[in-house]
Amino acid sequence: MNSLIQFKKVLILPLLIASALVALASPAAATLPPGNAVQQWNKIAEDTVVGSGTFQPEGVVYMAYVSAAVYDAVVAIEGGFEPYGPSITAPPGASVDAAVVESAYRTLWAYFPPESCPASPPNVREFCLGVRPRLDAFYAEALALIPDGPPKEDGRAVGLAAANSIIALRSGDGRMTPINVSSSFPTLPPGPGVWRLTPPFAAPQTPWVGFMRPFILQSLDQYLPDPPPSLQSLEWVEAFNETKAYGALNGSARTAEQTFIARFWSAHVVRQYNLVVREVADAHGLGLLEIARLAAMINLIGADSLMATFNAKYHYLFWRPVTVIDPTAVTNDGFGPVPGYDDGNPATIEQMGWRPLMTTPNHPEYPSAHGSITSAVAEVFRTVLGTNQINLDIHGFDPAGPPGNLNAVRHFDMANDLRREIIDARVWAGFHYRFSDVAGVVLGRQVANFDLRHAFQPVQ
């Protein structure tokens, strides 16, 4: 069952020697990230996607494009598994490294034109505008490491074909540009329970992600969760009270450890889970094909889970804790009056000025996106590693470090430990109810189980 072992790290040694030679010849060129070609370009893609200011769900979509192209390029040469897109014929002896470099480079280059860059903030815009020149430099450096000759040219041709076929396949899939752009969506009549913009009142985050063409799922509402509980139910009262007590910025019931865990999970999921892919590849000695397959699974299945989550979010349009705990925490957003609505339940007590520990994400509450993708990722690792003792180190935000860091590490023995923690963490962050975290975890696992049965299958 475990197919991880059968491939070898044949390419690493020559690559290391080549790197050393290049480093000696030209110190300025030694800028490629560490690892083999798949790991290097996974990291380049991650930096490109996150640095250009993508929100998490759209960031995972971009990662899915790149990792699908790389996977199809490697599979075309090495075989063993079904490709994601149309199958590509590779000449015998084609260089896998060249195919990886070409496919990743071409895909990223195509998806990050200057006109897609966000208008602000200025440093992000500047980074995004510099993506193509930076990619060109990485590309030149990476190609220089591969000996010239027919295998290299054949590999590049395979990579180009893989990139082109993914771009064609995903043309018109509902992705919108520029990066971070909001979009319209069907609304509900204003009233108790209906989502409102939350402080600091940013525009609704990428509603279009919830209406894209999925990567593997049949449709984004295939596993639409049941509605959130009624505002008159006991379950609602309990969830309200828990988030109010444990998610508050000030005077909360959290322990220091709970606060640390809540903050840990503020890391960008694109960085968190692609780093895990690269580390698992090292720890288990995976070959290029297996890393490419794992990266494609994490990002395509992750993208499907977030698209399905956003579909449910903009379907139910359920309000965030800050909106209901403090009805004055609304603005003239077009979704209702100022102040906002009472929930009509005498058992819940509002608290003026209540704020969550962490800033509420600017999209509807139900279900939790982080719960969904984390649960999907846990299922991918459970399946690929062939055990629910996944034994993973996950990197997350350390409040002692700079913004956006992944300096903290938490270890998870079991797939379920990861699910349990993400459910708690989003309540303690103050922007989710427990039932939404559970619904997200369930949805992510359903998506992963479907996708894992319908893609990436071994072939005879």
Binding site: M1, Y223, E238, S375, R382, G386, T387, N388, Q389, D413, M414, A415, N416, R419, R420, I423, V438, A439, V441, V442, L443, R445, Q446, N449
Partner: protein, 442 residues
């Protein structure tokens, strides 16, 4: 001594006579109590899982689910009346459902040359039984029996492959540091859970165990806790003066191996309700799959809360911070080795946390699924217990669940809240199954 180890010893002793009995049954044709291949092989599976392998109730339900899930897919592949559970291999309507069902069960139990089953070591036991069983089946039209065998092999293989690396027999969850309210090993054996891993097993029906999380035990200082505490302390005590003899019998009755008792009840219902082999295949699969997931959810939840048992709570009530609970440092529950039973092992507090109750979780899923299957609660049935050696009768399915909820308090091993929330957990599984699985086709 650990009651489960006890049971295992008992099980090993009883294998030989059983083999002889089975051999005799196989020879005496037609078998007296024979209903159909589904019920026959459910009885055989029960012997293999409970008696021979000595699996305790909670892991045994996973084994039953694997057997009955594959049997259902085998029969349904020929009938085509409902959605498959895992697979629906091609079949002709005339293929032998009896051969398909018996092969599916046989293969999940003993496996294949290249794919281990549940109990590879029992192959010498069941091979002759299976061969004799097949030989007794009609082959009409010719080839229908072999076709049934092939179908059963396909569905059992699918089940065994689906359950590879599903988390069974994994490591136990970590235990919380000792504190008032937190579970600790209990007298007199201070045993450890032989299958604490059950809560991390991949569920059969529900997408994820997290959706089965219960509300949790009552805070130690709450009035609800005080009420539960005083109830079990009084009515669950070894020498309680308020527990009636019938309540004592009920408590002991339901401590018989839960999955063995319920599968006997299903076989009784199959006969009393005149179910055909297709209905039997579906009934046994629905019941055992629901019970397995309820048990997975329950064990996940037990180690989430890790709530103490009544025997610990009552003996150490002076640490609970609740002025209304009085400690009794020598308190003993009805489930104590001093209580007479008609078959080993002796009664003790089960060696895992209180909340939620395992029996009511599984039985909750079973009873609500029975109501779903039969479309009514009003079906009378009787059951026999090997622990009390008595028969008890019920007018409705829900009467049994109500009695089990009480029985675990009368036995002195659970707080009522653990019983109630277990039953709710089981109901959630049953509802999920009703909505998403075993749907009629067309």
């Amino acid at each position: 001594m650990n009651p489960l180890t006890h049971f295992k010893i008992f099980a090993k002793i009883s294998i030989l006579p059983l083999l002889i009995v089975l051999a005799l049954v196989a020879l005496a044709s037609p078998p007296v109590a024979r209903a159909d291949a589904v019920t026959d092989w459910n009885a055989i599976a029960s012997t293999a899982i409970v008696t021979n392998a000595g699996q305790p109730p909670h892991p045994s339900l996973l084994s039953f689910a694997m057997v009955q899930g594959a049997v259902y897919d085998a029969v349904n592949a020929i009938d085509r009346g409902h959605q498959p559970y895992l697979v629906q291999p091609d079949a002709n309507q005339t293929d032998s459902m009896e051969a398909a069902a018996s092969t599916a069960a046989f293969r999940v139990l003993v496996g294949f040359d290249d794919l281990p089953g549940l109990f590879p070591a029992q192959l010498p036991t069941w091979r002759p039984v299976y061969d004799a069983y097949l030989a007794n089946l009609p082959d009409d039209p010719p080839g229908s029996r072999a076709a049934g065998v092939a179908i059963g092999e396909t569905t059992s293989r699918a089940m065994l492959e689906a359950r590879l690396n599903d988390g069974r027999f994994g490591p136990p969850p970590d235990l919380y540091p000792p504190a008032p309210g937190i579970w600790r090993r209990t007298p007199p054996n201070f045993g450890l859970d032989p299958a604490a891993w059950v809560g991390n097993v991949l569920p059969f029906i529900v997408p994820s165990a997290e959706m089965l999380r219960t509300d949790g035990p009552n805070p130690l200082t709450s009035a609800a806790y005080t009420e539960d505490f005083n109830e079990v302390k009084e009515v669950g005590a070894l020498y309680s003066t308020t527990r009636t003899p019938d309540q004592t019998e009920a408590a002991i009755f339901w401590q018989d191996h839960g999955s063995a008792v319920w599968n006997r009840v299903f076989r009784t219902l199959a006969a009393s309700q005149n179910l055909d082999i297709v209905e039997n295949a579906r009934l046994f699969a629905m019941e055992n799959l629901a019970a397995a997931d309820a048990t997975i959810g329950c064990w996940n939840d037990k180690y989430y809360w890790q709530f103490w048992r009544p025997i610990t709570a009552i003996r150490e009530a002076d640490t609970d911070g609740n002025p209304d609970t009085q400690a009794d440092p020598t308190w003993l529950p009805l489930f104590d080795p001093a209580t007479p039973v008609c078959n080993p092992p002796l009664l003790v507090t089960p060696p895992f946390p209180d909340h939620p109750a395992g029996h009511t979780s599984g039985s909750g899923a079973i009873v609500y699924t029975l109501q779903n299957f039969f479309g009514t609660d009003r079906v009378g049935f009787s059951a026999f217990s090997n622990k009390s050696c008595t028969t008890r009768s019920f007018d409705r399915f829900s009467d049994a669940l109500k009695e089990i909820i009480d029985a675990r308090v009368w036995g002195g091993i659970h707080f009522r809240t653990a019983d109630m929330q277990g039953a709710v957990l089981g109901k959630k599984v049953a509802h999920y199954l009703e909505k998403h699985y075993f749907q009629p086709v067309q």
